[in-house]
Amino acid sequence: MKIHKYDTVIVGAGGAGMRAAIESTKRSRTAVLTKLYPTRSHTGAAQGGMAAALANVEEDNWEWHTFDTVKGGDYLVDQDAAEILAKEAIDAVLDLEKMGLPFNRTPDGTIDQRRFGGHSRNHGEAPVRRSCYAADRTGHMILQTLYQNCVKEGVEFFNEFYVLDQLLVEVDGVKTSAGVVAYELATGEIHIFQAKAVIYASGGTGKFFKVTSNAHTLTGDGQAAVYRRGLPLEDMEFFQFHPTGIWRMGILLTEGARGEGGILRNKDGERFMEKYAPVMKDLASRDVVSRSIYTEIREGRGCGPEGDHVYLDLTHLPPEQLDAKLPDITEFARTYLGIEPYTDPIPIQPTAHYAMGGIPTNVEGEVLADNTTVVPGLYAAGEVACVSVHGANRLGTNSLLDINVFGRRAGIAAAEYSATVGHVDLPEDPAALVVGQIERLRASTGNERVADIRRELQECMDANVMVFRTEQTIKTAVEKIGELRERYLNVSVQDKGKRFNTDLLEAVELGNLLDLAEVMAVSALARKESRGGHYREDYPNRDDVNFMRHTMAYREVGDDGTESIRLDYKPVVQTRYQPMERKY
């Protein structure tokens, strides 16, 4: 076991982690731990753009952007945070440009902008061009640019170091972060990173669904690490299903395709979004479009022999425009479906895409231990966190924005904090939990296999807690997840070695997915209303009287060792905007 001592430790090296690292490295001795290599992070898969009211191509302002974000989130957004997001968006984009990001340009040489779902002129009048983009590889460019600047700043990376545990100690009766425990994939060695400040930026948890745009590695590691130590998770029932995933595979096809003029069609060739969203049509918010697609499918207007998908039609767009603006996604269609998007529509279905919920933080990125108390030294940013700027449904292009605005804020806040305090003493035997977990998995002779349990979990989640939910389906999920958690205790791995044991790694990841799936289902069961990405067929309306509040889920362990989930609620911060009926 090795012990390292840093001022600031960042867990995860995607957009939020590296944006934080650029700030934190300038101000404090920083280590960045990632279970991948930085450039493998899933920020790189984001396509369509990053929202900011630059007003380069038409009139726009941050207040309109704030409103769209609040409305897009079905009023569960904390409005103070959304205002910061929209205001700081402009500098966040300009900062990236100064770091070298190669945005597409207008004829004047300024950053070009395009339309995106839910972003509108003057509070919903018409779509507005707010998304700053680099073809359909904006996330790739952000990830590369941030990595380039990390190289420039000399950021210290620990690649293929998998963080498994958050160390918390009581200081004057207050739960305080002391550091993290990591597993080095190359050697199987355990490392303790003692740090004054820890920032989680480890991304999402989409891999508990089967059809998902998420990478295999998005297994909610950060959320699980803090949750197991008794810290809450906020709004986990809210998960976004992106309307246009490649049929059956789930690979993302950017909303930018519709921003460029692409149209969704059912088996009759009908542009069905006109029925559901007369103004914004195909550019309504994602939850609305995904539900509309499934409504078409359920009512028998889906495409293909099994009627289980619809089409994304780009055939009316000039090939030059597709080549210039959407080169990657058109190539995906050719590679994975053998379809030529110039001439044929692309079969798509909604795909599990983004966790709106996560580790609760305030606008400085400080993690909350309950509705109000900050955990000293603990920060989170990006998809792992819940600020909450996305509320019940995130707008497209607001996630690349989120990682830059709140990654930067968390990086500064953490480094400034670590400059003012000393290290907290490590708890006794800091690696105990992780060593126990690893040894148990390595030694287990149980007859359950990781792949079987994961498959069943993913199928259960797709079937029961996806776009449409009812009390019955959610209860089925809760029951099934409970059974899988029991079976997980009997899981064993075939690879017993220490070197690059990805068999063991996948077993640990599955444990995280199971914990978080249960939190999601239990949170969803209690929310007896429909709001944003959480749609209950048995409660089809939004209920502001009873549910205009954030869910806070805590893991509780009884005296006899039994685990349970306790739900509490946190008020939503409302400033300018009163909840209204949401129409697009």
Partner: protein, 259 residues
């Protein structure tokens, strides 16, 4: 093949339901295995799978790992050609396992899967990427400007100037190009195509002021002049970057000092 083939042919489970006419075929994956915890020798091992040929090689590797042999080790993440984790040598050619469909690589014959060449193998298909990233860092892969005052708004760049380096911005640092280069195999000191591609991305960016410095770095004995224009790198690039052309443009810039 220099080493013996372990035959561990093992029929996989029944095809998944849901596909109309059964598209499944039987394919053999011949995988280069190496685990120094077990043996200092690398061996070939065969796995036979019932698989839909429209699936990716990565799907086949997952089937093997998840249903047959959990110790099979490889890197992967996004599974659609964006993250650059799973470059490997498939049927003797560098490709991303997640962008290679089984039907496109003649599954009638055994499909060979090996680690990329020229980098130390750590376990099975996992290689030491550090020398690769060191070469990348050595070309100063970040925008360097001489302005004393940063502009308050974005720097302006014409669409034409932006287009000049568009191709080389697509690089995902997967190492497929560098590890397909015969010069790199023979001499690991050579920067390799990927590092040159990333230098190109800045040399030809109108906003950058450090082109001269980067050109001097690449003028080194281990720099661009080692390139023998075999086009392996261009063939290998899963992003379709014209790697050889980029290297030629850097060479030309070194001669003319215009870029």
């Amino acid at each position: 093949m220099a080493t013996p083939t372990l035959d561990k042919a093992d029929a996989a489970g029944t095809p998944e339901p849901g596909f109309a006419d059964s598209p499944y075929i039987t394919a053999t994956f011949r995988i280069r295995r190496f685990n120094p915890e077990v043996s200092g020798e690398a061996v070939w091992e065969d796995f036979q799978l019932e698989i839909d040929p429209k699936e990716r090689v990565l799907d086949a590797l997952h089937k093997i790992k998840w249903d047959h042999d959990g110790s099979l080790t490889f890197r992967r993440s996004c599974a659609h050609g964006i993250c650059g984790s799973d470059a490997m040598r498939i049927n003797g050619k560098n490709r991303l396992a997640c962008k290679t469909l089984i039907k496109d690589i003649n599954p009638a014959k055994p499909i060979t899967v090996e680690p990329i060449k020229g980098l130390t193998v750590l376990k099975d298909l996992v290689v030491d990427m550090e020398p690769f990233f060191q070469a990348y860092r050595d070309v100063m892969p970040f925008l360097i400007t001489k302005e004393t005052n940063e502009p308050t708004r974005e720097r302006l760049q014409s669409a034409e100037d932006r287009e000049r380096f568009d191709d080389t911005t697509k690089c995902i640092l997967c190492a497929a190009c560098t590890s397909s280069c015969p010069v790199f195999w023979n001499d690991g000191q050579y920067f390799g195509p990927a590092a040159i591609v990333n230098a190109h991305r800045f040399i030809f960016d109108s906003r950058d002021d450090a082109g001269e410095q980067r050109l001097e770095i690449l003028n080194d004995k281990d720099g661009v002049w080692r390139c023998r224009t075999t086009f392996n790198c261009t063939d290998a690039c899963p992003r379709g970057i014209e790697v050889t052309k980029a290297i030629q443009e850097v060479k030309r810039a070194l001669i003319t000092r215009r870029y």
